[in-house]
């Protein structure tokens, strides 16, 4: 088991290295001179050249990469061109709303989708199953922002139940915090629910077709126990895996949702940074998100140890 964990931990290193290379190249090889952007509208050629040198942009690209990586390793993502503060500080400031939104969404999504998927698989081919499959395809097909507008219009404007926008820190009271999170989280969770429910259903169907389910039934166990202790326990690995893969989906959704609901999180930061061509922030945020994604999936891989004893070697 420790060997497994160690191997899995070490295997993330090459991934992170390649992420770093890609993020670096992504922005360095695009047209547009960071120095010119930083210098602003009225800068002269000399000023731009000066800034180029101060940013180290005159050095060979491999040296630039080395410097950049060494800074990253020291926890320094540079200073934002646009916001004029350290990118690490910027990310720290924007982390809470995104974290709250993402975790709340995750909780809603898992609580809703897993039971739905289990029931659909149990009643495979029945009306519930069809309805769920229909819903999940629909969930994949509606753009998040359209859904957001519709929900705001109905829930907030017509019914007046929830705020239309904004984010309240949990320090401002739990209820305001929650009220502001509900609508964005529901918006964001739809696609996630669709995804997880689909995978839950599929892996449950597969598990329910296994011989040990027949064994369990032959033991005279009640259906609920067959479904949960036997089928779901065995279907857990793909479900947990898709929750991890879905984090990428979640990150994409966060970018849009935060824009519509005016939530000052990392998603909004991404959009603002991109529109302002704020290179260090773009790099920092992408790097951060990728790092989170890799870590989440690492944790999920490690959690297989809990779900599947066969992995414990």
């Amino acid at each position: 088991m420790y060997k497994f964990i160690a191997r899995r931990l070490l295997s993330t290193i090459p991934v992170l290295v390649i992420v770093a290379v890609l993020v670096f190249l992504l922005l360095r090889l695009t047209p547009g001179d960071p120095a010119a952007i930083l210098a602003g509208d009225a800068a002269s050629r000399d000023q731009i050249a000066q800034i180029r040198i101060s940013l180290g942009l005159d050095k060979p690209i491999i040296v630039q990469f080395g410097i950049w990586v060494s800074h990253i390793l020291r926890g320094d993502l540079g200073e934002s061109f646009y916001f004029k503060i350290k990118v690490t500080d910027l990310i720290a400031q924007r982390l809470e709303p995104t974290l709250a939104l993402a975790s709340f969404t995750l909780v809603i999504a898992v609580l809703v989708s897993v039971p739905l998927g289990v029931i659909a698989a149990w009643r495979f081919g029945g009306w519930f199953d069809r309805a769920l499959m229909g819903f999940s395809v629909l969930g994949f097909s509606i753009p998040v922002f359209v859904l957001a507008y519709i929900l705001i219009w109905i829930v907030s404007l017509k019914l007046g139940w929830l705020p239309v926008q904004g984010y309240k820190r949990i320090g401002d009271g739990f209820w305001p915090f929650l009220r502001h999170l509900i609508l964005p989280s529901i918006t964001l969770s739809v696609i996630y629910i669709a995804l997880i429910a689909r995978v839950t259903r599929a892996s449950m169907i597969e598990a329910l077709g296994e011989d040990y389910i027949r064994t369990a039934r032959a033991k005279g166990l009640p259906e609920s126990r067959v479904l949960i202790a036997h089928a779901l326990a065995n279907a857990a690995v793909p479900i947990v895996t898709v929750i991890g893969i879905g984090v990428a989906l979640l990150i994409g959704g966060v970018v849009v949702t935060e824009s519509v609901y005016a939530i000052p999180g990392l998603g909004r930061l991404t959009v603002d940074a991109v529109l302002a061509r704020d290179f260090p922030t773009i790099q920092g945020v992408i790097l951060f998100f990728s790092f989170v994604y890799v870590v989440v999936n690492l944790l999920i891989d490690l959690s297989y140890v809990i779900f599947d004893p066969r992995i414990r070697y």
Partner: protein
């Protein structure tokens, strides 16, 4: 004596009717396919469907509700009365014409992204699956690419390279490539273990012939299915990019652009978002349903997985 061998296993034979017949019998394929054919027909026949130039506008006709009549000035300077079936936007452009012409762009984006991602994914996947020395390097690279959330790559690329059909297609396709590569590679690795491939080896069939004659054809079904999903998500992602202001230039009528412009007054004139949104949702839905149907019929093994 031999005849009996027929009847004993006849049960198995019956279920393997031709893929084409199974496709035609599948409701998902029928529904998704017909809607898609209809949409393609609409896109192709756009000029014949009572549309006007989708970029033309007349500020005097701005913000008309669906069904109202206004006027449009053509590039020749003639002012003609026009009935705005789906209303007009805040420029006074005809939403109906924009939505219909938008189908061309959105469908092209979906198709091109799918083709591009598949083309690169297949090459990389075949390479990784068959050339051991390439496998490690290439798959580590793909792992890295996959670790960067796709939408971020797309946003960053489009924003930095400036929106055009080419850049949008490339930017949306790039994050899909690792997935296709992984799929192709795993298919290649499992198919090359199949006895019929081993048989071909022992029949002296050269490697390239095995790759293209035996392995590639058997990856087609799952790849078509994967392609439809990529297509659907590409159409969706294009609209999201437009929404965020980093998509195709706003004067190009794409569903995403129409919605992005209309959202400013969503409460007052929802038709600006409703009609393109409806077309978008129906299209993506149709592609997804078609994908599900194809998967169920062409690739039953995968059907059990997702």
């Amino acid at each position: 004596m031999d005849a009996d061998a027929f009847s004993v296993e006849a049960a198995g034979v019956r279920q393997h009717e031709s893929a084409w017949r199974r496709l035609r019998r599948n409701w998902s394929v029928r529904i998704g396919g017909s809607v898609l054919v209809l949409l393609v027909a609409i896109a192709l026949a756009a000029p014949l469907l009572g549309t006007v130039d989708p970029t033309l506008f007349d500020a005097g006709s701005r913000d008309l509700r669906p069904g109202m009549t206004g006027q449009i000035t053509t590039l020749d300077g003639d002012t003609i009365p026009h009935r705005f079936l789906m209303g007009s936007d805040s420029f006074g452009r005809d939403i109906y014409s924009r939505v219909i012409y938008g189908a061309r762009v959105s469908l092209s984006v979906g198709l091109l992204v799918a083709l591009l991602a598949l083309a690169f994914g297949i090459s990389a996947g075949l390479g990784a699956g068959y050339l051991r020395w390439l496998d490690g390097v290439l798959m580590r690279f793909m792992d890295g690419l996959m670790a960067i959330p796709g939408i971020l790559v797309a946003i960053a690329l489009v924003a930095l390279w400036r929106g055009s059909l080419t850049t949008v297609v490339i930017a949306i396709a790039i994050p899909e490539i690792p997935r296709v590569t992984r799929l192709v590679r795993s298919l290649v690795l499992s198919i090359r273990e199949e006895p019929y491939v081993e048989a071909a080896v022992s029949l002296g069939t050269p490697t390239w012939k095995i790759m293209f004659g035996h392995i590639l054809p058997n990856t087609i079904a799952p790849l078509i299915v994967q392609g439809t999903y990529i297509c659907a998500s590409a159409i969706l992602l294009e609209s999201i990019l437009s929404f965020l202001g980093v998509g195709l230039p706003p004067d190009i009528p794409t569903w995403g652009n129409i919605m992005a412009e209309g959202r400013v007054q969503f409460n007052e004139y929802p038709h600006n978002v409703f009609f393109p949104g409806l077309f978008l949702a129906v299209t993506v839905l149709a592609v997804n349903i078609l994908g599900d149907g194809l998967r169920d019929t062409l690739d039953p093994k995968m059907a059990r997985r997702v």
